[in-house]
Amino acid sequence: MRTRLTTGILAWCLVLLMAGGVFAGERKLSLWWTVEYSAEEKAALESIISDFQKQTGIKVEWSGYSSTDLWAKVMAGIEAGNPPDVSQVLSHSLVLLADRGLLMDVSDLMEKYKADMIPAGVEASYIWNSKANKRSYYCIPFGLYTLTINYWTTDIKKAGYDKLPSDWNGFWGAFEKAQTVTGIPATGWSLSDRAEFDVSWPVEQFITAFGGRLMKDGKLDLSPENRKAVIEALKFHTKWYLEGKAPKGVTEWGDPDNNTNLQTHKMSVTLNATLSIPRWFYDKERDKYFNETASANYPQPGPYGKPYPVLTNIYPMIIPANAPNPKEAKEFVDFFMQKKNYDKYIRGLEARFFPMYKSTFDDPYFANQKDPHIYPTRQHFFGPAAPINFMLHPAYAKFVIGHGWHKMVARVAVDKWTPEKAADEALENLKRTFERY
């Protein structure tokens, strides 16, 4: 009896050891990805994963999350020592992670791709690392995006315009005029903490349009000119709501609310970080996509008669410094960024993000001049473009993550502070954040 028991135990140990050997020999990687946009996006990713597995024999275990959930999860995973091998992250959290030296330097990979990449996107990927005391490439940017301007052409036509004026005052004045004709609120963008980029990005873009350059040569610049630009931007950002030219609920809008309000024609124009609004029309009411709505290029020059850059941002892939399978992670990233695979994925994103590769912009999907949304937005990347400020310094990123601009906007829209007082509080907060770095 005892002999049989011992033999049994030994046999099981042998089986386990063999299995362990097999598993130990298996190459694998874990991938955390954002899946929140379209079925095509997910299908494109799965197809790339499948091709990668076939070609390399590396097993990919992938999980999908919403972008905000993924942000918290990556943070917890890295800290707990259980990170993914490759992940997406939101750009401002990327800046914080890179600053702490928590991401792998992927300059060797970037060197292979960057010649064909949009310069503003490359610049935004060159990030500061306080631990290594240097800037380097701590991510692979695969998506490029900008604050798009989506509007109802029908409202503009009713106001007597064949097309939108291209100067700042004429451009925005057209929507004000449309409201007097249609009775539909001219604009609408979130003034609430429930939204993320939909608040901070318009603020940043307006500051830039009013001539503000808060980051100069990697340093914060709080000159009187920049203070004035922040105040003017804040006035412009909130005046639509305060003057009854935006839906009343903007002070409680989350990120999707400007989508639904434009889609249901409760306002004439909105700003959105992706082309998700037109995409909805394309899927549900294609006639409106082509004939009743459009996306605009930014009015140039700015309100003071000077040209200004359109702010661009990246959607990055990262490899955590403590990734368990760094070699496999790099192989996957390299496979993903190969033109054939990359183009398949970026097409699957259906212009949610624009390509990082200049050559991919030649794809008829992005170069079709008859497309009323993709083509005008495409032009943002080929005109004067600059990376958004929070990509340039971790303290700035922290200020934005802490909803510093959100608070400033709410001070004026909700607490009825003067723009000067609200701007001063925000700039003081920004200054203090920099001082702590």
Partner: protein
């Protein structure tokens, strides 16, 4: 002989320890260790990618200078103070009502439990949609009656009130159920004795019912304070801490520190700062509870 007794006693003691061992293990792993770690981290600089380093009281002094944090403390005290007291007082009143015999009582009881049974996230989203300024049913009703739209979640006073209303609506049934079971546990002969002595219904309530469930009420208060203090999802989903970071409570601001900034030190300190208040409250409630037991 004495030695033998002692040996048996020793074995008994070890057996007793063995029985409480699972609890001790769970307590150590899931309560004591995280709690002590939190206290430790609150005295360190501990951010993502930076190993904990002792900094004394610096985190606390930083927090006290942070206006968003100070506001979250005030909001937490409002949330707990009003939320717990109104909820429990109402729960007791309703439990007293449901403890009476009337036709359809079981149907009323079942209907009354529905908010508690409803999934938290879907009920929160329903609340939010009903209160939407532009599309919400409540504003549609107000407009049809000739009133203007109210930005329920877009201004501090109404947003904080809505958070409280939701909290009370959602958790009132649970506490009602607890009080109802407490009321059912009062021996009927005590009521009968009261009636024989000629006590009025109000006197029965004052001198029999309330003293009999006093201990239960205190325990419920304690538990509810702890649960409400840690409530994250109501504020997070209802307002996201807005407008302008004005409705944050400790749970949401700690989340902000930990998972948006990677500042585990401030996240820990934000709760630890309130430990003394909580401890005083807990000791007070436990003393009251012991007093109540001693009286009976």
């Amino acid at each position: 002989m004495v030695e033998g007794k002692s040996a048996i006693g020793g074995r008994e003691v070890w057996k007793n320890y063995l029985f409480v061992l699972p609890f001790l293990l769970i307590f150590t792993v899931f309560i004591a260790y995280p709690l002590l770690s939190e206290v430790y981290y609150s005295f360190t600089r501990y951010e993502i990618g930076i190993a904990p380093k002792f900094v004394g009281l610096k985190n606390f002094s930083n927090l006290l200078q942070d206006s968003d944090y100070r506001r979250s403390v005030v909001n937490s005290l409002i949330y707990v103070g009003i939320g717990v007291n109104v909820k429990l007082a109402l729960a007791l009143l309703i439990a007293l009502f449901l403890n009476r015999d009337f036709k359809g009582r079981s149907i009323v009881q079942s209907l009354f439990l529905l908010p508690w049974a409803a999934a938290t996230i879907s009920s929160l989203l329903s609340f939010r949609w009903m209160l939407d300024t532009d599309y919400g049913v409540l504003n549609a009703l107000l407009e049809s009656l000739g009133f203007g739209k109210i930005q329920w979640l877009g201004q501090y006073s109404t947003a904080m009130s809505i958070i409280l209303v939701y909290h009370i609506w959602k958790y009132l049934p649970f506490w009602t159920l607890i009080f109802l079971s407490g009321l059912k546990g009062i021996p009927p002969d005590i009521y009968e004795a009261g009636k024989v002595d000629g006590a009025t219904p109000v006197q029965i309530l004052r001198w029999i019912t309330l003293p009999m469930i006093k201990g239960l009420y205190i325990v419920c208060t304690l538990i509810s304070v702890i649960w409400t203090m840690g409530d994250f999802i109501t504020v997070y989903l209802m307002t996201g801490g807005g407008p302008g970071q004005s409705t944050n409570v400790l749970a949401t601001i700690a989340y902000r520190f930990a998972f948006r900034f990677g500042e585990f030190d401030n996240a820990s300190a934000s709760f630890v700062l309130l430990f003394p208040v909580m401890m005083i409250l807990i000791v007070f409630v436990i003393r009251k509870l012991e007093g109540a037991h001693a009286a009976y």
